[in-house]
C-alpha cells in the first residue's frame, strides 16, 4: 500500500508540474551509452508518409531524396532493424545537425555507431561519438521500386 501511495503521490506531483504555467524543470540528462546499427534516413519522408510507405523511403530507391532532405536541413535519423529511429544531434566533434556536410555525405548509408542515447517525449535522440563502421548503401531497393519520388532522376532523353 505504501508503494501505491508513493506512486500516486509521484504521479500527482509529476502531473502538477505540467499544469499550465508550471513547466517541468527539465535538466540535461546523462544519457545512456549505446551502440546502434542502422541506416541514415531522412525523418520527414519516413514519418510523414508524404512519399508512401516507410519501405519506400529508405535505401537506394530514396537516396537522392535523402540527400535533398539532409542538405535541406531536415533532421537525419538512424533507422535500426527493429524500426527504432534515433534523431542525430551530433557526430563526433561536428555538432552541425542542420544541413551538415558530414551527414549529407552518409545519406542512406548503413552504419554502426557508438554514442549516447536520450529519450524525451516519445522521441529518441543520439549523440554519435564515433562511426565504428560504414557499410555504404546496403538496401538495394531501387531494383524493385525504381526511385522515390519518381522525379528524383530526370529523363535524359527529354
Amino acid at each position: 500500500m505504501t508503494g501505491l501511495r508513493n506512486t500516486l503521490m509521484g504521479f500527482f506531483m509529476a502531473a502538477l508540474s505540467v499544469g499550465e504555467g508550471m513547466l517541468p524543470a527539465y535538466a540535461a540528462q546523462d544519457g545512456e551509452k549505446i551502440t546502434v546499427s542502422g541506416e541514415f534516413i531522412d525523418t520527414w519522408c519516413y514519418f510523414s508518409g508524404v512519399m508512401g510507405s516507410q519501405d519506400a523511403v529508405v535505401g537506394s530507391a530514396h537516396h537522392t531524396c535523402a540527400m535533398w532532405c539532409s542538405a535541406g536541413g531536415i533532421p537525419v535519423g538512424i533507422l535500426t532493424e527493429d524500426g527504432t529511429v534515433y534523431m542525430v544531434l551530433k557526430v563526433g566533434e561536428d555538432a552541425t545537425s542542420n544541413g551538415s556536410d558530414n551527414l549529407l555525405s552518409m545519406a542512406s548509408d548503413t552504419v554502426t555507431a557508438d554514442g549516447t542515447f536520450y529519450a524525451r517525449d516519445g522521441i529518441n535522440y543520439i549523440v554519435v561519438s564515433k562511426i565504428v563502421q560504414n557499410d555504404g548503401i546496403t538496401r538495394l531497393n531501387h531494383e524493385d521500386l525504381g526511385v522515390v519520388p519518381d522525379f528524383a532522376i530526370q529523363n535524359p532523353n527529354k
Binding site: 500500500m1 501505491l4 501511495r5 500516486l8 504521479f11 500527482f12 502531473a15 505540467v18 499544469g19 499550465e20 504555467g21 513547466l23 527539465y26 535538466a27 540535461a28 540528462q29 544519457g31 531522412d42 525523418t43 520527414w44 514519418f47 510523414s48 508518409g49 508524404v50 537506394s60 537516396h63 537522392t64 540527400m67 535533398w68 532532405c69 542538405a71 535541406g72 536541413g73 531536415i74 533532421p75 534523431m87 544531434l89 551530433k90 555538432a95 552541425t96 545537425s97 542542420n98 551538415s100 549529407l104 545519406a107 542512406s108 524525451r120 517525449d121 516519445g122 522521441i123 535522440y125 549523440v127 538495394l140 531501387h142 525504381g146 526511385v147 528524383a152 532522376i153 530526370q154 535524359p156
Partner: protein, 188 residues
Amino acid sequence: MIRTLVALALMSLPAAAQDFSANSEAKSWNLYAEQPARFEAKVIDTLCDLTGECAADCGGGAHQLGLLRKADGVLVLPLKNGQPVFSGAANDLQPFCGKEVEVDGLMLVDADVGLNHVYQLQKIRVVGDADWTKANQWTKDWAAKNPDAAGDGPWFRRDPRINAMIVEKGYLGLGLDVDAAFIKELFP
C-alpha cells in the same frame, strides 16, 4: 488518502489530453497522420536541452531547434517547414532562439507506431505580436549562400553539394556504372 490522490492526479491532467487544433489555420498536406496544431512554446536548442552541451545563440543555425510547449512541457521536434521543397524548420526557428512563440502547423500523430510530437511548422510569431512569419525562410537562405547556383529549377537540382555527390556516386549512391545501367533501363 489514496482516493484523494487519485482524484487530484486526474484533476491535474488537462494538458495531457489537450487538443491543440483550436484556432489553427494550418493548411492540410493530406498526410495520413496530420493534426492541425497551434500552440505556444519556447524555442530551444535540442542539443543543449538534452545534453547540456550549449552553444551561443542556439548554435547559430547549425543545430536542430525544438519547441518546448508551454501547456505541458513536451518537447516538440519540428522536422519540416512550410515549403514543399525538402526543407527543414531550423532556419525558420533560429531568429526566435530562446523566445516564447506561438506556432501553427501540423502535428504528426499515429499512436499505433508511437509517432508523436513531430511537427511541420507553417507559421510563427512571438507571443503577443500581431504579425505571423511564414515558415518559408529556407530557400531564401540557400539562395544567399549559393549565389553561383542561380538558375532555373528548384534549389535541389542546383545545389553544389548534392550535384557533387551525384557526379561522384550517382543518383542511387551505388557508383556511376550502376547508375548508368539503371537509368538506361528506366528511360529506354
